[in-house]
Amino acid sequence: TYRQEMALTNAQELMNKCNEKCFAKCVTKPGGSLSGSEQSCLSNCLQRYMEAFNIVSKTYIARVQKERISPELA
């Protein structure tokens, strides 16, 4: 359905951004394979990025609802 497609697009966008940010932070000099420390950095980064996304969502939605900010302005 349309709703499911939207949710999928949203999840995909989240993964894309997360891969981009965590690769930038954790794999600074790409070598012949992902090292153990790069992998553990990536695991942590994934958890943190998801948490960050949740903090941002909650804060943003609460504020928009409180002030009835038009989404075009915000």
Binding site: L14, K17, N44, E51, F53, V56, P71, E72, A74
Partner: protein, 87 residues
């Protein structure tokens, strides 16, 4: 095309499209704010929890960015008002 639908259906359809667009805009904003506030606030190497101050920085980043948007709009309106007064 529009002739195919009666008035009520057309209104319902327009409301649906508008609500979906608002939802898509909201989602896009959240992705973009997460990306921007991540770069501003997360400076330590990712570990098993956030470093001191990173979580509050993320929430403040969102709030202050919205403050900034509202402040900028107010500035522009004031400027326009001054320009009209001085005519």
């Amino acid at each position: 095309m529009a002739d195919q639908f009666d008035e009520a259906t057309r209104k319902e359809l327009a409301n649906f499209v508008q609500a979906e667009q608002a939802q898509a805009h909201l989602t896009a904003q959240i992705h973009s704010l997460t990306s921007m506030c991540w770069d501003k606030c997360i400076t330590s190497n990712p570990s098993s929890r956030f470093a001191r101050g990173e979580e509050s920085c993320l929430a403040n980043c969102v709030e202050r960015f919205l403050d900034t948007s509202l402040y900028m709009v107010k500035q522009i309106q004031e400027q326009r008002d001054r320009a009209q007064l001085s005519r």
